[in-house]
């Protein structure tokens, strides 16, 4: 039995004659796979924009389709070049994995990360994530890297193996709505309750807010030695409007603070205050 398997593995691989036709065939496989993934990604992305609240659900299929198409393309590519038996294919895959894995450890670590992201879904296309040192919206999940659009509109490719080495934080976990925290600081001598009422009304009347049992809001007051922090927590109905939401609520609340004679602190909170 063992001899039979060994002889099967060591049996000659029937390499096909490489001619212009075969090269064209291989190129066609690569090109078709690339075009197919690009086209399907484009169609699904466009469709997701029209899907309203189901936007994230549609984009979920993009990386799955990509991995499926590339796997099929790889199989077609190998079988077009050689005609291996099943045992040879398995042995080849193992050897290929070991040899290339040692040489291209990081690349394969990224690929493994890509597969984990696709299967385990710690985040998906459209989510707002903090990955490594970068925060932004996930625009694409590729096999080697994840593309994130930062608030500064930069497109950053973060290697997928980041998920093995650093924590990844998803702000919305697949939902299109996302919780936003808005902090305003007032002088300790000002009326904090009135400030909280103003911030609450600025939040609930915002044109970006969504409020329901699933998306509640909270207003919190916390006193610090030099200032009082008034914090609003509420959901923006579309995570792409995160900064517009924050800005609109802050702008309107500050204008009302001024009208109501609520003073801003003389000593402005530092980083510690913001983090706490």
């Amino acid at each position: 039995m063992a001899d039979s398997i060994f002889s099967d593995v060591t049996g000659e691989l029937s390499l096909k004659t490489i001619d212009a036709g075969l090269i064209l065939h291989l190129v066609a496989i690569v090109v078709v796979a690339y075009l197919l993934t690009t086209l399907l990604s484009y169609i699904l992305s466009r469709f997701s924009e029209r899907a309203g609240v189901y936007r994230q659900l549609v984009t979920l299929f993009i990386p799955l389709l990509k991995i499926f198409i590339y796997t099929v393309a790889l199989y077609l590519f190998i079988t077009a070049l050689i005609e291996p038996s099943v045992t040879q294919l398995i042995a080849f895959a193992g050897l290929f994995g070991a040899v290339v894995g040692i040489g291209l450890k990081d690349l394969f670590s990224d690929l493994a990360g890509g597969i984990v992201i696709i299967l385990e879904k710690p985040f998906q296309i459209g989510d707002k994530v903090t990955m490594g040192n970068y925060y932004g919206e996930v625009k694409d999940i590729r096999l080697r890297s994840t593309r994130i659009q930062t608030p500064a509109d930069e497109l950053v490719s973060v290697p997928n193996n980041t998920i093995f080495t650093q924590s990844v934080n998803s702000g919305n976990a697949g939902d299109i709505a996302m919780m936003i925290v808005i902090d305003l600081f007032i002088d300790s001598m000002s009326d904090a309750a009135h400030a909280a009422k103003i911030l609450k009304e600025a939040l609930v009347t915002s044109k970006y807010v969504i409020i329901s049992e699933q998306y509640p809001y909270t207003i919190l007051i916390e006193d610090f030695p030099c200032y009082t922090r008034v914090r609003a927590k509420g959901y923006v109905y579309d995570l792409r409007l995160e900064f517009e939401f924050k800005s609109e609520v802050t702008r309107r609340a500050l204008a009302e603070f001024k009208r109501s004679d609520i003073k801003l602190p003389l000593c402005y909170p530092g980083l510690d205050g913001l983090i706490s």
Binding site: V53, T205, K207, Y208, I211, E256
Partner: protein, 339 residues
């Protein structure tokens, strides 16, 4: 069995309100909220309640966004019940915009009178989420969407003296499922715009083909009212507007009823302004300006909404175009502008 109702379609709702009035206990008034879409018939229901119990009900109808001067003095009303129509005008979506609503709710909390209130459903859902107003009303009566036969009765009751004819249109060629259209695309690198052939799927044609198997023979009259029901989503006020719009020389034809083609793409300000208008019966320009921020941005949004036929303007007062209410409601829900 209660008194015979003059209002078609809302008999059960009127009976529920009548029971609340008849069982009224000043020590524990069970306030009533009547909820309905714009043009669903809240005022008609309120009118029927007044017709039945006019001698013990004081009626107040709010005509616009509440101001300090216009705030009714509820405590000085002598009658046992107070009916307030268009209650959505008590609140506006701005900082400080809940003051009159809070006063009104407080007044009900301490009152020994029965309050019967009518609310726009969009405003009700918003205020329930942000002010929890549902807790003040033990009895909430929601006006349901009507079926086509009820709509038919409601509509035809407005034309008692006229014999309306419903004509069957000649069978037309079935529409293609897929048509070729030309779309503009920008070429990469050169930035040049070119026209490329593109496939357009006709969803209406697909839907009608799918229904072929279960098609039954219906009279032109029933087909007309079924289509009106579908376009108006069972809203009687909208249905009546659509019907009167396609009535010509006492003849209504199926084809004349406009399909509610709903392909909206609005920016944030347009959506917000539309949400404000649909949540109120109508809004004056200066109220919109106070809530949404005036100036060029608001003017542009109002112009765009009017151009798309979503709102109507009459002497500075903006209201929803009845025939587009269904489309607007669906769009705002889909994009989570209303909850």
């Amino acid at each position: 069995m209660g008194e015979e109702s003059n209002v078609i379609g809302y008999e059960r709702e009127i009976e529920a309100i009548s029971r609340a009035i008849e069982q009224f206990d000043p020590s524990n008034p069970r306030h009533v909220a009547i909820i309905g879409e714009p043009m669903a018939g809240k005022t008609t229901v309120a009118g029927e309640i007044m017709r039945r119990y006019g001698d013990c009900i004081h009626s107040v109808t709010l005509g616009g966004v509440m101001t300090q001067d216009a705030m009714p003095a509820f405590s000085s009303i002598q009658k046992d019940c107070i009916l307030v129509d268009n209650c959505e005008f008590f609140a506006t979506r701005q900082i400080g915009g809940f003051k009159f609503l809070d006063d009104f709710l407080k007044c009900q909390f301490y009152s020994t009178k029965l309050f019967i209130t009518a609310w726009n459903s969009y405003a009700w859902r918003y205020l329930s989420a942000v002010r929890n107003i549902g807790t003040y009303y033990p009895l909430v009566v929601t006006l349901p969407a009507m079926d086509s036969s009820t709509l038919k009765q409601v509509i035809l009751s407005n034309y008692p003296q006229r014999e309306i004819r419903f004509v069957e249109n000649p069978p037309s060629e079935p529409a293609s499922i897929c048509t070729m259209v030309q779309r503009q695309a920008r070429l990469p690198f050169s930035g040049r715009e070119v026209s490329i052939p593109w496939f357009h799927l006709n969803t209406n044609a697909i839907r009608s083909r799918l229904q072929v198997g279960r098609k039954t023979v219906v009279s032109p009259e029933d087909a007309v009212f079924e289509k009106i029901r579908r376009v108006a989503r069972g809203n009687p006020g909208v249905a009546m507007q659509i019907f009167s719009g396609c009535l010509e020389d006492n003849v209504v034809s199926f084809e004349k009823i406009p399909e509610d083609e709903c392909e909206l793409s609005l920016d944030i300000t347009e959506s917000f302004v539309l949400t404000l208008i649909v949540s109120m019966k109508s809004l004056q320009y200066h109220d919109l300006s106070a809530i949404a921020g005036g100036g060029e941005v608001l003017d542009r949004a109002l112009f765009s909404l009017r151009r798309q036929g979503l709102i109507l303007e009459d002497d500075g007062v903006y209201r929803i175009s009845p025939a587009r209410l269904n489309c607007i409601g669906n769009y705002l829900k889909k994009t989570r502008r209303v909850w």
